[in-house]
Every structure is written in C-alpha cells, then in structure tokens.
C-alpha cells in the first residue's frame, strides 16, 4: 500500500487561492452502505494541499480496492464569505483498484461550477 495513498486539494478558481477550512469526509462503500472513515478540515500548508494530520493512519488500513466518496462541505465556505453557491456540498465517488498507487482527487471550485480529475 502506498504510504500516503490519498490526497486532495481545493482551489477556489474565482480567487485563484486555495479554499481553506472546508471540512472533507472520506467514506467507503461496504455492504451496500457508505461508511464514514474520516472527517477532516483542510489546513493550509505551503501549497494549501489538504493535509489532514493523522489521515494517513486513519485510512492506511482501510484503503483497499473499493468504491470511495469524498464529500466537500462547500456551503459553509461560501456562507463564511457572504456568497451564495449552487452546490450545498460536493460528492466525488471514485473506484480504487490499485491500493499501491497514490491518488490525488482535487476540486477546482467556483460558486456555480466545479471540476475534478484523478491526479497522482
């Protein structure tokens, strides 16, 4: 298993800056239900990649091939800025086949649109 198998990043494309403080939940699909593995808040490192202290240890045992979901609680971010958004939260559901690889699942975010891709 990769030592840091999953990372993410939220970039606010309207400001060109990282979106700090968004709570992000990782869930795993098992026995036909979603089970929450970890919920963290992004904190700002030099690149504002989402570093969740202890996330590696939370998930390293869990990160077997499966279906996963990252939930980004974007509403509070926009409310905190006094702005409206179309999306109360963002779910990204993805399939891990090779747990020895590293997966980067970022969001490029704006109030009325977002994108995501599988990075490495």
């Amino acid at each position: 298993m990769a030592s840091n198998p999953l990372t993410s990043h939220v970039l606010d494309t309207a400001t060109g800056k990282p979106a700090v403080g968004i709570p992000v939940t990782l869930s795993k699909f098992e026995n036909d239900v979603w089970r929450q593995i970890s919920r963290k808040w992004a904190f700002q490192d030099t690149a504002n990649r989402l570093r969740w202290t202890g996330w590696k240890s939370d998930i390293i045992e869990e990160f077997t091939p499966s279906k996963y979901k990252l939930t980004f609680e974007t509403l509070a971010y926009y409310e905190g800025r006094g702005e409206k958004t179309f999306y109360p939260y963002i779910d990204v559901i993805f399939e891990i086949e090779r747990s020895e690889e590293h997966y980067h699942v970022p969001i490029l975010l704006s109030a009325y649109g977002y994108s995501t891709y599988r990075g490495s």
Binding site: K67, T85, F86, Y87, P88, Y89, I90, D91, V92, I93, F94, E95, L108, Y112, G113, Y114, S115, T116, Y117, R118
Partner: protein, 112 residues
C-alpha cells in the same frame, strides 16, 4: 431526479406540463448519459426531468450512471457514477446542469 438504486426505463417527469400550466414547463435540462430517468437524444441532451409542479425550492440531486456508459464502450473509468447536488431557489428560472465528462475527470456548471 433519481436515486442511485432506480433502474429501468421509467421516465420521471414524462408527465410534462401542458401549455396551460406554469410558464416554466421544462425547468431543468441536462446533458446526461444513459440513465434510468431519461436517455440523451442525438444532441446529448435530456429534458423533461421534472414537472414544474415538483420543481419547488429545494435541494436536488442528479445521478449520472457513467459506469454503464464506459463499460458499454469497453473502457475503464475512475467514477462509477457522478452525483451533482444543487440548490434551487428560483424555480421560475431554467437550470441547465451539464457534465463535461472524461474517464478520469469531469466538470459541471450551472447553465441556463
């Protein structure tokens, strides 16, 4: 709208509004892949997802069955399905919720 579990060929919102109903008779359209709610036409579009009576201010979710699409093409994808959750405040407006899709990335935006 649909939940992930619904399969089959029922078309939600096929009871499309007649001209005598609210002026916003087709309030929600999308570019959508092959789903249980509707099928894209030759333009890649699907409408009639919901009637104006049901389209009240609320939170909605569109689920796109992307896995079936890629499997039918013999391709892999990172996303077994895509959920887009959005808040409708002004149901008198038209909302277009498209997906720009590839096997390892997608984007969405609020169109009109």
């Amino acid at each position: 709208m649909q939940s992930e579990e619904s399969k089959g060929n029922n078309t939600l919102g096929s009871n499309s509004s007649t001209a005598s109903m609210a002026s916003n008779s087709n309030p929600l359209t999308s570019h959508v892949l092959d789903t249980a709610v509707g099928l894209t036409n030759a333009d890649g579009r699907v409408g009639n997802l919901i009637s104006s009576e049901e389209f009240t201010p609320s939170r909605f979710k569109l689920t796109f069955d992307t896995l079936a699409y890629y499997e039918s093409r013999g391709e892999r994808t990172f996303y077994p399905y895509i959920d887009v959750v959005f808040e409708i405040e002004r149901p008198e407006e038209h909302y277009h919720v498209p997906i720009l899709l590839s096997a390892f990335g997608y984007s969405t935006y609020r169109g009109s």
